[in-house]
Amino acid sequence: MSDVVIKSEELGKSYKISHQHRERYVALRDVITNRVKNAWARIRNPQYYDHDTLEEFWALKNVSFEIRQGDRIGIIGRNGAGKSTLLKILSRITEPTEGRVEITGRVASLLEVGTGFHPELTGRENIFLNGAILGMSRMEIKKKFEEIVAFAEVEQFLDTPVKRYSSGMYMRLAFAVAAHLESEILLVDEVLAVGDAEFQKKCLGKMQDISSLGDRTILFVSHNMTAIQSLCTKAIFLKKGGIQKIDSVESVINEYCSIEFKYQLQNEWPYDGAPGNELIKIKKVAVIPLSNEMAIDITTPLKIQTEFWICKENITLNHVCVVLKNIKGECIFNSVLYCTLTKGLHSAAVIIPGNFLNDDTYTADIYFVKEATPLYIHHDCLVFLVNDIPRIDMVFLGKWIGAVRPQLQWEYMQLEGA
């Protein structure tokens, strides 16, 4: 159960970027003219040197890890962190510049949905074609044919050219072929990004089926943290071509979010240099999870706290408001403390109960108001992520809609029936 199936040592991949030639590929005509140009320049000036330096760009560098049989690894990282390059090396599409990888077992990779589909051919023909591209034999495809068709739900359209398929059918069919490939190791790159919720649900369900068999190893690149949380047992966080962290899914996602999204959970300033104005100065802002763990998920109650000075004698503060916004800038709520505060150092805190916020990234503004006039607004002083919790029923793994996700009371009774 715990044999190492993928072992990567010091893996690196570099691309050469030419400064002079911005084109992605060389033209013979340019090569010839450059040679002639350089030769001519050298005749006129023997010290001449062609200054076209190639810059090396390391898409991956020093990547070492071991993956055991049955592991389900989520790979996360920002765009350009090297996730896709890693999958491309593991699936032998491109070769590494340095290092080595040992892979035991057959690898199936699904880097794009529908690669190699030909629009003029029918669904049936494309199943065989795509199967062959993925390395399945005709016998193997025949054996799985019924299953593939059933999964893709294209029974009536098998003899229709796929150019007439709806995009949903097209993608289901493409995913179905790849998902039914018998392999020990499955590499999947962001296939869910393209489909609708229904498609995502189906794909993730299928991947869950595959992984529940236990002996298949899955590497899964996604930006959908919920999918990774629910599907994977471990995660790799790639940053600028290197491994930042390999650990349990939760801790990797936390680190990923705190590093890549610059979370601001707490900030404290001395009196001089504190943000504010001549009336109000901020000493401290913090979002504090009221649970034993540092990570915030949707069940965690939170305290948003601020400490501030009122700097002038004759100022009376009537309201302190916390305005919570989601990442799109939409306001979730505005919560107000009614008070009568005068000169001095004060602390105010609001508690957001658990099971209230949705999984999202939130930012908080704090308003200091006197008689409906804000004396000072501390914009975006806190930024924090509320993680999703692993879904239990596994039926739906897409984004939970709604600005908030409160746990509300339900009433239920059966009215009729046996």
């Binding site: 590929y25 051919l121 062959a132």
Partner: protein
């Protein structure tokens, strides 16, 4: 898990499993060629006709220009049109193989950047596609033979052998051009010129027997000379002759190009996904 194949990926070495992979993906040769053929013939009836019309019209022109106007000699007592046709078919195959295979990798760029399989399959299967067209175009030859009531001799049994020679010649040169075409993206403008040029220096419109004896060995450096002469010998039978020293030289050149093409292709194959 049983004793699995262990795959080791290190820079500069993917050769080890190559033959094994080619064998594993053997059905892909068929699948890709079949995709191109069926997609083409599905789209239009003209697809089928085109494979016939092109060589037929060229043959008519060559017969008139070389046979009637220039009054070049035919081989044996065969009609000039038949002699041209016997050469036109392999030449057409060779020419379209070069242009199809050289564009094949770029046309399948999406496949190359998103899936793994031995890349050799792509240009090879595009040549297989041309080979199917070639077989279809035999229809013309049969019509012409019926028209002239020309009976083939037993020599025709060796025709598949020469067809294979033509296939290997197209494959070798095709692979070489294909690799260059990926690297230098403007190389494809040279290929049609090369093909056009080849049509006139190969003995398509005339018999290679009109080449002066002392130049025939040099002339046979062109591997298509052997293929075309072989075709004429098989189809026309008595009267047509093969210049044996040149024939073996052509075979040598064919295999040399095959070696060179595969070597070049293999050395560049690993970087195709990065270059495309």
């Amino acid at each position: 898990m049983n004793a699995q194949t262990k795959l080791i990926i290190v820079p500069g070495r993917t050769e080890k499993n190559y033959l094994q992979d080619l064998w594993r993906y053997r059905e892909l040769f068929y699948a890709l060629s079949w995709r191109d053929i069926s997609a083409r013939y599905k789209q239009t009836v003209m697809g089928v006709l085109w494979a016939l019309i092109r060589p037929f019209l060229t043959m008519v022109v060559f017969t008139i220009v070389f046979g009637k106007l220039a009054k070049l000699p035919a081989e044996g007592n065969a009609p000039y049109a038949l002699m041209v046709c016997a050469a036109m078919l392999p030449w057409q195959f060779f020419a379209s193989s070069l242009s199809e295979s050289s564009n094949s990798l770029i046309a399948n760029a999406q496949l190359i950047t998103k899936t793994y399989f031995p890349r050799l399959i792509i240009p090879t299967s595009s040549i297989i596609t041309c080979f199917v067209d070639f077989l279809i175009s035999f229809f013309i030859l049969i019509l012409i033979m019926i028209y002239y009531s020309y009976m083939p001799t037993l020599n025709i049994l060796l025709l598949p052998l020469f067809a294979l020679m033509g296939f290997l010649a197209a494959l070798g040169i095709g692979l070489y051009i294909t690799s260059l075409n990926v690297k230098y993206r403007d190389f494809r403008y040279i290929v049609p010129f090369f093909v056009q040029f080849g049509l006139y220096i190969s003995p398509v419109g005339f018999s290679s027997s009109i080449i002066p004896e002392k130049y025939r060995l040099i002339y046979s450096l062109n591997p298509m000379v052997c293929v075309i002469d072989g075709f004429r010998w098989s189809i026309i039978g008595q009267g047509a002759s093969i210049y044996w020293p040149g024939f073996f030289l052509s075979i040598g050149v064919t295999f040399f190009f095959l070696y060179l093409g595969i070597k070049k292709f293999r050395s560049m194959e690993k970087s195709f996904a990065d270059m495309i």
